[in-house]
């Protein structure tokens, strides 16, 4: 379940995000809610057709929005997500990125080495520079 904090531009998620396309749809619904209309959009979205019916979705949080989980272990997979994930004590976030399913492990202080991993993915796939 996603809960927006419009005043502080934070999206709270109480569970892992394993469906990036579905996550994107939920974010759009928050943006298009009567409260969300008052605020800047949360994200931009792009999907790359990999052929054979496969899609590679990518999300980037914009306008100062961030993502936050409560304490616990969480997984972000199924596409790329570029976002500031707020550090929370006892919160571990494992994030898989790119079509090659490269894996980044988030430690106690949040997402680790994200940019480096993303650069690597871009170099490998050369599919998504326009998005990110």
């Amino acid at each position: 379940v996603l809960t927006p904090d419009f005043a502080n531009k934070v999206i709270y998620s109480d569970s892992s995000i394993t469906d990036i396309i579905g996550f994107h749809g939920e974010l759009r619904s928050i943006e298009a809610s009567d409260s969300g209309m008052m605020y800047p959009t949360i994200h931009i979205y792009k999907q790359v057709d990999l052929g054979g019916g496969a899609l590679f979705p990518a999300i980037e949080f914009v306008n100062g929005w961030s993502l936050q989980f409560p304490a616990g272990n969480y997984l972000i997979s199924g596409g790329n997500l570029k976002a500031t994930i707020n550090p929370v004590a006892g919160c571990y976030v494992m994030q898989t990125q790119s079509a090659a399913y490269a894996v980044t492990v988030a430690g106690e202080s949040g997402v680790m080495d994200y940019t480096q991993q993303l650069d690597r993915i871009e170099n490998m796939t050369n599919l998504i520079p326009a998005v990110l």
């Binding site: 396309i21 579905g22 994107h24 749809g25 939920e26 759009r28 619904s29 928050i30 943006e31 298009a32 809610s33 009567d34 409260s35 969300g36 209309m37 008052m38 959009t41 979205y45 792009k46 999907q47």
Partner: protein, 475 residues
């Protein structure tokens, strides 16, 4: 003379028309009678000779180019039938107790074949003359008494043309001019059947009513109301009202038949060409004293009224915002642009809202270009309002407050703040004050039907300010 074949003079002095269609001048009648009067003996059916009394005498010098004033004397006389074949002058008879006076219509332009009719003593005279300009004689006095003080009024009222009327007085004799001119009306696009069919949509009520259009004139007195319904436009109303004033009208307006109706109040200056007002440049210039009720919002800039006191009254210019390019389910928010977002602090609550209440009072005056009904956000929470009292700065919302908003809470009125149900959405109409910049946000959520959010600014002016947003596929 041919006149001798068309007329006879009976032994009792009656001059009667026998046959023929030629119309003779008063002078020709006099000349014929005098020609008979110098004959040694009466001959045929003309009982005038030197042995009878003199039949006629002119007032003033004889002239073939001026209307003559003729007196039939010594019992000689014409009747109404004979008068139909004599013109260009007047005939007095029976010692001045009977008077036929010439009437000639003049004026240009005149649509070919424009019918002219004469109203005397509130009745329409039976027409025997051809359409177009007329030159006839009308009886102005009978039995020693003037008919309606000698007054007549000539009309030309053919639907599809401008109307005309002009009064004359017959007492002086001779020939009285009446100015009649007509032209084709480009605003009567309906035929007579189409115009007549509008009767179910237009009601005419005579009686005082005090109304305002919201312009600077404020409340004004009107003497009658024309109520439009069923989607009737002002263009249609103007045509119907012109139609019911045509020559053949059987409609009664303010107690008067339409064919002679001229104005709602005797103190008003009639509009001869269109008794209910003419249409020019797409605007109906409504005759004085009439209030138009039920006017369509889109038509309010298409009328100009004149109140009972003669003030020119118009509707304030209106504005409306129309957003297109959306799909059903798209949330559309339109408000005044702050440069970076919406102006969200137009108003502040002068007091806290009350639980179960439905009103809020603002500190600031309500802007004149805020719609009478629409959307209201207090502390960012969306509401719809059903009424606004600008005097007390009070909004009345639909339903009741779902939460209490503290005093001094910020509030503003978006022009659109709802989901579109089709590919476009429009604001309520509002009074135009001045141009301003509006901001539109259009967002469509949901998976997989979401669209890329759109946001833009555009200028709002009079009339409909339309903006088409571009919402791309979200992929």
């Amino acid at each position: 003379m041919a006149i001798g074949s068309d007329f006879e003079v009976q032994s009792n002095g009656n001059i009667r028309h026998l046959s023929g269609t030629t119309v003779y001048t008063v002078l020709q009648l006099h000349e014929w009678l005098q020609d008979l009067a110098d004959d040694a003996n009466a001959a045929g059916d003309d009982n005038v000779s030197i042995l009878t009394a003199n039949p006629s005498k002119l007032d003033g010098p004889r002239s073939a180019i001026k209307p003559m004033i003729l007196n039939l004397i010594n019992g000689f006389n014409i009747d109404d039938s004979a008068a139909q074949y004599i013109n260009f002058g007047s005939i007095s008879q029976d010692s001045g107790n009977v008077l036929y006076t010439g009437v000639k219509s003049i004026g240009s332009p005149l649509v070919a074949g424009s019918p002219v009719y004469i109203v005397q003593n509130a009745s329409k005279l039976t027409s025997y003359w051809a359409d177009g300009h007329i030159q006839i004689m009308v009886k102005g006095k009978t039995g020693g008494a003037l008919i309606d003080n000698g007054d007549i009024r000539a009309f030309s009222r053919k639907y599809g043309q401008t109307y005309a009327d002009f009064s004359a007085n017959l007492v002086a004799g001779g020939e009285q001019p009446v100015a009649i001119s007509t032209s084709v009306t480009d605003w009567t696009t309906l035929d007579e059947i189409g115009a007549a069919a509008l009767s179910a949509k237009i009601a005419i009520t005579v009686g005082d009513t005090t109304q305002t259009t919201g312009d600077a004139n404020g409340l004004k007195l009107y003497k009658g109301t024309i109520t439009l319904s069923g989607g009737c436009t002002v263009a249609e109303a103007a045509q119907y009202l012109q139609y019911i004033c045509r020559e053949a009208s059987t409609t009664t307006i303010n107690g008067e038949l339409g064919w002679k109706y001229r104005t709602l109040n005797a103190a008003y200056t009639p509009n001869a060409s269109a008794p209910f007002g003419i249409v020019a440049g797409g605007k109906w210039f409504v005759a004085q004293g009439w209030w138009i009720a039920g006017i369509l919002e889109a038509d309010k800039q298409k009328v100009q009224l004149v109140s009972h006191d003669g003030s020119t009254v118009t509707y304030p210019q209106s504005g409306q915002i129309a957003i297109s390019g959306v799909v059903s389910g798209t949330y559309v928010l339109v408000g005044r642009d702050s440069g970076t977002g919406f102006v969200t602090n137009e108003y502040t609550l002068s007091g806290a809202t009350t639980s179960g209440g439905n009103t809020c009072v603002m500190v600031e005056a309500i802007k004149n270009d805020t719609p009478d009904t629409g959307y209201l956000r207090v502390n960012g929470k969306p509401y719809t309002y059903t009424a606004v009292d600008r005097g007390t700065k009070t909004f009345t919302i639909s339903g009741t407050w779902g939460q209490v908003h503290a005093s001094s809470s910020p509030a503003w009125c978006p022009f659109i703040d709802t989901s579109a149900s089709s590919t476009s959405i429009s604001s309520a109409s509002f009074k135009y004050v001045s141009d301003f910049t509006a901001r539109v946000k259009a967002r469509k959520g949901g998976s997989p039907s979401s669209l890329q959010p759109a946001e833009a600014t555009f200028n709002v002016s009079t009339g409909t300010s339309a903006y088409g947003v571009i919402m791309n596929t979200d992929e």
